[in-house]
Structures are given as C-alpha cells and as structure tokens.
C-alpha cells in the first residue's frame, strides 16, 4: 500500500462472508446443498436502495475490486482504476458490491473448499458451474442484501458475460448492463486457447486427476504454462513489442534453453507467481465456464431472441487491439440488441494494450465510462 491512502481510493476494506443453506440447482443437473460467498462492498446503500452496482469479475479475479486489505498489501483491488471516490464508479454516489464467483479459489465455495458431505476437499469433484449458475447465486445473494434492482451490473470479459446473463434471466432486476471487452460466446479459436491451457494442467504428472492436494503436491508446471499462454492472449503484439521488444536479459544470447529474452523472463515470472495464488482445478472450471457461455444456444442461435425480454439499457465497450475478445465480438452483441430495438450505446476505444485494456487507465475509456455512469446515476436518482 502507498504510505498514505490516495483520496480517490476506498482505502482499507474487509471482505465479508455470507452462508447459504438453501440448495442451489446447477445447469449441470447437480446440486450444491449449501455454499458460501465472499464479497466486498464500497460506499453506502441509499435508503431507497436505488444506488447499488454489482461488479462481476473475470476469469482469475475475485471479490477484491478496490482498496487495500491491509497496510502491507502491495497492490490494491483489481479495478482500483475504475472504482473509488470520484472515479468512474463513484463510491461517493454508489453502493458497490463485488462477490467472488462460485467455483473460485478465492473464498467462495469452490474446488479448494471442504465438501461438507465428505469432510474432504472438493477438488475435481466440485460441479462445473455456468454463467447462468453464477447469476442465479448472485440473485439469491442480492435478495439477502435487500437489493431488489441493480442500478447497473458491470463486468469485463467473463464479467461482461454475467452482466448480459443478468439482463436475460432477471430483466426487471437490472437497470443498466455495462459489458466491457466481452463476447456473447467464445469463438473456436478462443476455446482452443482454453483447451491448450487445460491440457497443460491435465497432463501435468503432478495433477493426479485433480487430487493433487491429497497427494501433497501441485501441478505447478501445468498451471504455469496455462497462465503463460493466457497472458500472451491478454496482451497485444504491439503491447508486447513496446514492453519487451527483443530485449535480452543479459545483453547476449546464451545458446541454451534458459531465459534469453526479457519476454521469456516476464512470462515465467507471471506463470510462477500465478501458481502461488491460484488453484488448478479452479482454472479448469473457470475456462469451461467461459467456453459454455452461449445464451443464444437456447434460442436457435439467435442472440436477439435471447435478449428479447431484456429491459436494461446496455453500454458495450471494446478495445481496438483486443484480439482475445475482439471488437467484432462486441459488435455482435450490439447488433443483436439493435435488432431488438434495445437501448444500447457502443464505444470502441483505441488502445494498444490488448484484452488487458479494460483494467488500464486509458483516458478515452475512463471518459466514456464516467459519462455513461452519469446516465446510470440519473436513472438511479443519485
């Protein structure tokens, strides 16, 4: 943490737990008899309950969207850029909630949790969950928080998918959906990347069919390679060139398979540090959740039919250099919404950061986002 908390940070925050005893039926046909959700909130819910914003996190992210857990914490929450007093999502005006998705390894019930029925860690036996399942759990969670309708549900990437699913499954409980760098379904290429990542984990000799904890080991190499691959796809060619070029770590090539180029060093570091903070079974599960998302499938592949009963206004954003969730994928969303005569605005931000752009302080992005949030505020009467 910086020595003093910046004025535009929510500052020190604490996560909260909520326990649910009511069984949750999942898309897969399986049932979670009970579960916990971990979440954080920033700002204050107004007496009318109209100013609540739900943040949905992406693949490997969590409920810690803004602020710091302690003075020792090095980095703030994952969306510090956009969430805080006076920021795009202004915590002076909005009550902001971010919950960790089911199946995560960051505190909500998931593969690393103990299965109350067996007394052992779920591991690979944790059921696969879908975006629809998540949204269902978030709706139950909203009930418990006393929030009847979200002023906005906001998310980037996999988070944007949740925002879209909200408009489909709970049309009267969401006023605005803000869908950033997302897609209405993954392309074959995108699924292919996920499959390579999964194969890296599944074929790691230390994976033990997911029971690595029982074997006192971790599929470190597999998870590391999965993350390295993912990281490449989150950056653009330009961003990598700008960041690393062909810079050599020791100023010369070594004619061996150790690290020659800076980019190799960076990827290895990213991969290795990921292993310490993420779980392999969770990574497998989350990538499947991404692959399965396709709300149009239930409607004969007609996305506009899927959105037909949505009542929300939509704000769709994409970034020019994002090739993992390319602008064309966002345009497909917009096209479907236009076909349905929905309220929708679309902005394609010029940025060379690739998919990671949605986490970056890009002035055009923050400007458009803030201006749209004014509309959210107006509709929420705050």
């Amino acid at each position: 943490m910086p020595e003093t908390i910046p004025k535009d940070s929510v500052g020190l925050v604490q996560p909260h737990f909520m326990h649910f005893d009511e069984p949750l039926s999942l898309d897969s046909g399986r049932v979670l008899p009970s579960y916990d959700l971990i979440y954080e909130t920033y700002g204050t819910l107004n007496p009318a309950g109209t100013n609540a914003i739900l943040l949905c996190h992406a693949l490997s992210s969590d409920h810690h969207a803004a602020g710091y857990h302690s003075t020792e914490e090095r980095k703030p929450g994952w969306w510090e850029t956009c969430v805080g007093p006076g920021k795009c999502i202004d915590t002076n005006r909005f009550f902001v909630v971010c919950s960790n998705n089911l199946g995560s390894c960051k505190g909500s019930t998931g593969p690393v949790s103990v299965n109350p029925e067996t007394g052992k860690v779920f591991g690979p036996d944790f059921p696969l969950v879908t975006v629809k399942d998540w949204v269902k759990s978030q709706a139950i969670f909203s009930d418990r928080l006393g929030i009847k309708k979200w002023a906005a549900v906001v998310g980037g990437s996999l988070g944007g998918m949740q925002a879209m699913q909200w408009t489909i499954d709970y049309p009267d409980r969401i006023q605005h959906a803000i869908v950033i760098a997302s897609a209405a379904k993954l392309s074959a290429q995108n699924i292919a990347f996920n499959e390579v990542a999964r194969q890296a984990i599944l074929t790691d000799p230390d994976f033990h069919e997911g029971h690595y904890q029982a074997n006192n080991t971790l599929p470190r190499r597999g998870l590391m390679i999965a993350r390295m691959l993912g990281h490449i796809t989150y950056l653009s060619d330009d961003a990598m060139r700008a960041k690393f070029g062909r810079e050599l770590r020791e100023g010369k090539v070594n004619y061996n398979f150790d690290v020659d180029f800076q980019v190799e060093s960076y990827l290895r570091y990213q991969g290795m540090s990921f292993v310490d903070r993420f779980d392999a079974n969770t990574y497998l599960l989350m990538t499947k959740t991404l692959d399965y998302f396709d709300p149009a499938r239930e409607c004969d592949d007609d996305l506009s039919a899927a959105f037909k009963h949505a009542l929300a206004s939509f704000f769709v954003l994409s970034f020019t250099s994002d090739w993992r969730f390319a602008p064309q994928r966002s345009k497909e969303i917009v096209k479907a919404l236009l076909d349905d005569d929905k309220d929708v605005s679309y902005v394609e931000v010029e940025a060379n950061h690739g998919h990671d752009a949605f986490l970056m302080p890009i002035p055009r992005y923050l400007e458009a986002f803030s201006l749209y949030m004014e509309r959210v505020a107006k509709d929420a009467c705050v």
Partner: protein, 204 residues
C-alpha cells in the same frame, strides 16, 4: 440541458413524425437525437466515429453507436430497421455517396439528407469567374483540407436519386441566413446554399 437547435436541424425535425424510430448517421454531439427524443418521443440511435463527439452524445444521454458510416452499417443494421435514416451535412464527405443512399434505403423507410449546394451562385462565381475552388459560408474549407470530396448541386443530387430509383418526397432550400425566401423557391439551384431532402425508395 439547454441547447440551441440550429435552423437546419429544426427543419429536419419538422419532418419527423412523433414516436418514430430514427437513425442519425454522423450525429455529432447528438443534438438532433436529443431534441427528437425530448420533444417528439422519438427513439433510436446516433452513429458517430469521432470520440470527442461520442463523449458529447454520452453526456447528452442518447444512444450512440461508434461506427464508420461507410464500413459499419452492415455490421449493425438489418433491412427496414428505422422510420427515418438521417444524414446531415455528411453525404458530400463520403467516398461512395451513391452506395450510401442505397444503404439508407435498405435500413430505413425514409431518408433525409442535407448538403451544401455546389450550384449556389457564390460557388459558380468563384470557380467560373475567379477561377478558384469556392470558399463560402456553407463551404468554409479550402480545397486541400476539406472533408467534402463529393460535392454536388441540387440538380446532380436529384438526377442521382432518379438513377437509384429514389423518390424525392420533399425538398427545402435555405440561403446562407438559413432562410427560405422567394428567391430560393424560384431559383433553388442558384440561390440555395443548403439543401434538405426527404425521400424514399420508389415503389416499383
């Protein structure tokens, strides 16, 4: 929000029926869409490419879609999506105005365009007598930095409409004070500086 609706937009808005669906291509700051929404209950979208203007649209609270008019329409719009497709002061800056008119007729029941009339006497004098490309209140840029690459006269536009089987429903011509006078009515192609047309696909 207070805003001044210029005479040109004012004339356009007189053509729009209440509660209709409108696409404003090259919507700028969204002034027309905002006005139509507030005063006539019109719904629809503005299309704009310039991020500064898009920001103004978001500020105005209108639905804005960032897109290039010439490349982007097929990405977004099906046939007959709108009651009116409007293109104010933009046609002359397009690479393929004729194709764009076809596109307007594909996605809208009616089209509305406005453009500076190149047949206005000032342009004729400057090019015919003085021998240089016109610079007038309606055409303020010099030849080398103008966005207007396909200027035309009223006569040219009307002949293109005939060629593309487009039926002109209404025409208004304004002088440089944005007024319709006896002169602009009698000699529109000579005395009109700004032309406004409302049209639809000819019934075959």
């Amino acid at each position: 929000m207070n805003f001044e609706l210029g005479p040109e937009l004012n004339l356009i808005s007189q053509w729009i029926k209440p509660n209709s669906r409108v696409l404003d291509m090259g919507c700028g700051a969204g002034t027309l869409m905002q006005h139509l929404g507030n005063s006539l209950g019109v719904t629809g979208y503005g299309l704009e490419i310039d991020p500064d203007k898009i920001a103004l649209c978001l500020q105005a609270g209108i639905n804005v879609i960032q897109s290039d008019i010439e490349e982007g329409l097929v990405d977004f719009f099906d046939e007959d999506s709108f009651d009116y497709v409007i293109m104010g002061q933009t046609l002359q800056a397009m690479r393929q105005p004729s194709r764009l008119l076809d596109e307007m007729m594909r996605i809208g029941k009616q089209g509305i365009v406005t453009f500076p009339n190149f047949g206005h006497w000032k342009s004729r004098v400057q090019i015919g007598l003085e021998g240089h490309m016109p610079v007038t209140p309606a055409l303020p840029s010099s030849w080398h930095n103008t966005p207007n690459i396909h200027l035309c006269t009223l006569m040219d536009f009307e002949s293109l409409c005939r060629e593309r089987s487009i039926e002109i429903l209404e025409r208004k011509v304004m002088n440089n004070e944005h007024k319709t006078t006896i002169g602009t009515r009698l000699f529109p192609n000579l005395l009109g500086e700004i032309a406004l047309y409302r049209f639809r696909k000819m019934e075959l």
